[in-house]
C-alpha cells in the first residue's frame, strides 16, 4: 500500500536527509521507524504527507505516484492519511470537541453524524469526559491523545505518527502504543516514528532503522534491556 522506491531527499545546501530508501508497507501492517534525531525519520513522514517532495525516486500509495499529485489535490491526499504530531498541533483556543471535529467539518460532515464520530474517536482514546475542555487544561498525555483522536476520526486507511511518545512517561507511552495497536487490528496501516528503542523492542513489530539517511535495518529489532 505504501511504497518507497529509491527515494532520496537533499535540502538546499547539500544536506542529504534521505539516501536511496526503499521499502513497502502492506495494507493493515504496523511498523516502527527508528533512528537518532536527524536520521531522516521526520523527512520520511513529510514525504508521505506531501509536506516535502522527494529529490529523486518515487513514493507511491496504492500504486499512485505522489509526485503526480497536483497542488490542488494535496488536501484530498492528506484526508486519507491520519497524522499525529509530536507537539500535538492542537488549536489551543478551541475545545477538544472542535479539535477532533475539524477533519469532519472540512469534509462537510454536520449535525448528529459528526457528533457521533467525534464521540466514538474520543471514546477510543479514553477522553470522552473531556469533550468540552480546552486543550490547555489537559495534561501532555491527554493532549497527545486528542491529537490521535483527530487523526483517526475520519477513519483514514493509513496512520502516521511522529514521536507520539516523545514527552510521555513510560506507562503513558505504552498506553499510547496500545491505542495504535487497536487501530492496526481493525485494518489500518500504521507507521510510527520513535526513538524509544526499548518500547519498540518490546512491542515486536517490524522496525525500519535509519542512520544518516540510509536504511540500516528492516525487520524485528534485536534489543537487550540495559542491565
Amino acid at each position: 500500500m505504501l511504497q518507497f522506491d529509491q527515494v532520496s531527499k537533499s535540502y538546499p545546501g547539500g544536506f542529504v536527509a534521505l539516501d536511496r530508501i526503499s521499502f513497502r508497507l502492506e495494507k493493515g501492517e504496523m511498523a516502527f521507524l527508528t533512528g537518532h534525531s536527524g536520521a531522516g525519520k521526520s523527512t520520511l513522514l513529510k514525504l508521505i504527507s506531501l509536506i516535502e517532495r522527494p529529490s529523486a525516486g518515487r513514493v507511491l500509495i496504492n500504486d499512485i505516484e505522489l509526485s503526480r499529485i497536483k497542488r490542488s489535490q494535496i488536501p484530498f491526499v492528506r484526508r486519507d492519511v491520519g497524522i499525529i504530531f509530536q507537539n500535538h498541533r492542537l488549536l489551543m483556543n478551541h475545545t477538544v470537541f472542535d479539535n477532533v471535529a475539524l477533519p469532519l467539518v472540512i469534509e462537510g460532515f454536520t449535525g448528529k453524524e459528526m457528533v457521533k464520530r467525534v464521540h466514538a474517536a474520543l471514546d477510543k482514546v479514553g477522553l470522552l469526559d473531556k469533550v468540552r475542555c480546552l486543550p490547555a487544561t489537559l495534561s501532555g498525555g491527554e493532549q497527545q491523545r486528542v491529537g490521535i483522536a483527530r487523526a483517526v476520526v475520519n477513519k483514514p486507511p493509513l496512520l502516521l505518527a511522529d514521536e507520539p511518545t516523545g514527552n510521555l512517561d513510560p506507562d503513558l507511552s505504552k498506553d499510547t502504543m496500545r491505542v495504535f495497536e487497536a487501530f492496526n487490528q481493525v485494518g489500518v496501516s500504521v507507521l510510527v516514528a520513535t526513538h524509544d528503542l526499548g518500547l519498540v523492542a518490546r512491542m515486536k513489530y517490524r522496525t525500519l532503522t535509519l542512520k544518516h539517511g540510509r536504511m540500516i535495518n528492516d525487520g524485528l529489532l534485536q534489543y537487550q534491556e540495559p542491565v
Partner: protein, 326 residues
C-alpha cells in the same frame, strides 16, 4: 471521493444525502461561517471597532461629496429651468403690433410660454418692490419699455442662444437678452466638481480596499499556526479562506452603516444652518438627504470593497502558508 483509495467514500458524500438537503446544508454552512466570523470580530472588539471606524470615515467622505454634487445639480437644474429670454420692445411701438408679436410667439413651436409685461405693469411692479413708492410718481413719463418674456421649450444654453438670435431679428424688438454666460459657467463648475469628486471618491474607496486587505492580512498572520494545522488535516484553500472573506464582508457592512449614520448626523446638524441661508435668498431649496436606493448602493459598494480587499489578501497569503512539518 478519495484520490488514493478507490472505493473509499469520504465525507458527507458517503452518506448519500439528497440533492435538496445538500443544497440546504450548503447555505446553512455558509450562514454558520458568516456568524462565526462575526463572533470572531466580537471577540476582538477594540481592533474591530478601530478598523470599522476607519472604514466608516473613508466611506463617509465620498458619500458626503456625492450628496453635495446631488444638491448642486438640483440647484443648477432649477436655474436651467428659468433660462428665460426677455424681449425689450422699441419705444412708441403701437399696441396692436406688440399684440400680434405675442400671438406669433405663442404659436411658435420652440417656445413653451409667453408672458407680456406692459410698461404700466412693469412700473407698478417696480414701485412695489423697489420701495421708491410715491417718488416714482414725479417722473414725467414711464421710462420702462414693454417686455415680452419668453420661455424656450429647450432650456439647454445652446438652443436658447439660437432662439435668442432669431427673436432679436424681429422688427419691433429693440434688443433681446438671455443671461446665459453665468449659466454655462455654472454648468462648467458643476461638471468640474463632479469630476473632482469622482477622483477623490476613487482614492478613498481604494483606501477602503487597502485597509480591509491589510487588516485581513494581519489576522491571517495571527492565525498562521491554525491555518497550518488545518492544511495538515486536509483543508482546501477555499475552506480556509472562507471565514476571512466573511470577515471582509462584515467590515463592509459595518463600515457602510457607520458611514450612513455619520452622513445622516451631519445633514441633521447642517439642516438649521442651511435653512437660514436659503431663507435669506428667498429660495424654496430644501436639502436632499440620502435616498433608500443610495443607502442600499452605499452598502453594496462597501460590502463589495470589503470582499475584494479580503479576497486580494487571502489569495496572496493563504496559499503562501505551508505547513513545515510534523
Amino acid at each position: 471521493m478519495s484520490i488514493l483509495f478507490t472505493g473509499r467514500a469520504t465525507g458527507a458524500a458517503a452518506k448519500k444525502i439528497s440533492l435538496l438537503r445538500r443544497f440546504i446544508m450548503f447555505w446553512l454552512n455558509h450562514a454558520r461561517q458568516a456568524v462565526a466570523s462575526l463572533g470572531e470580530l466580537w471577540r476582538t472588539p477594540s481592533a474591530s471597532i478601530l478598523t470599522i471606524a476607519v472604514l466608516g470615515v473613508s466611506l463617509t467622505l465620498p458619500a458626503t461629496l456625492h450628496l453635495l454634487v446631488k444638491n448642486m445639480q438640483q440647484i443648477s437644474s432649477s436655474f436651467t429651468q428659468a433660462a428665460e429670454i426677455s424681449l425689450y420692445i422699441r419705444e412708441q411701438t403701437p399696441d396692436n403690433q406688440v399684440q400680434s408679436l405675442v400671438a406669433i410667439l405663442q404659436a411658435d413651436r420652440d417656445i413653451s410660454q409667453v408672458i407680456f409685461v406692459s410698461k404700466q405693469q412693469a412700473m407698478t411692479e417696480f414701485q412695489e418692490i423697489s420701495g421708491f413708492g410715491a417718488a416714482l410718481n414725479y417722473l414725467d413719463s414711464n421710462p420702462l419699455p414693454d417686455v415680452i418674456r419668453v420661455l424656450p421649450k429647450n432650456t439647454a444654453p445652446e438652443a436658447a442662444q439660437l432662439l435668442l438670435k432669431r427673436l432679436s431679428n424681429e422688427r419691433i424688438v429693440d434688443f433681446a437678452k438671455l443671461d446665459i454666460d453665468w449659466l454655462t459657467r455654472l454648468n462648467a463648475i458643476v461638471s468640474m466638481l463632479q469630476q473632482a469628486v469622482a477622483i477623490i471618491a476613487l482614492l478613498l474607496l481604494s483606501a477602503v480596499l487597502l485597509i480591509v486587505g491589510n487588516t485581513i492580512r494581519l489576522s491571517i498572520m495571527n492565525k498562521k499556526d491554525e491555518i497550518e494545522v488545518m492544511k495538515l488535516v486536509g483543508a482546501t484553500d477555499a475552506f480556509i479562506q472562507r471565514p476571512f472573506l466573511y470577515t471582509g464582508v462584515w467590515f463592509g457592512i459595518f463600515g457602510g452603516l457607520l458611514a450612513f449614520l455619520v452622513v445622516e448626523l451631519m445633514l441633521w446638524w447642517l439642516q438649521g444652518a442651511i435653512s437660514n441661508v436659503t431663507a435669506l435668498y428667498q429660495s424654496d431649496f430644501s436639502l436632499m438627504a440620502m435616498s433608500f436606493q443610495e443607502f442600499i448602493g452605499l452598502l453594496i459598494i462597501a460590502v463589495l470593497l470589503g470582499l475584494a480587499g479580503s479576497y486580494l489578501s487571502v489569495r496572496r497569503h493563504i496559499s503562501a502558508i505551508e505547513p513545515t512539518g510534523p
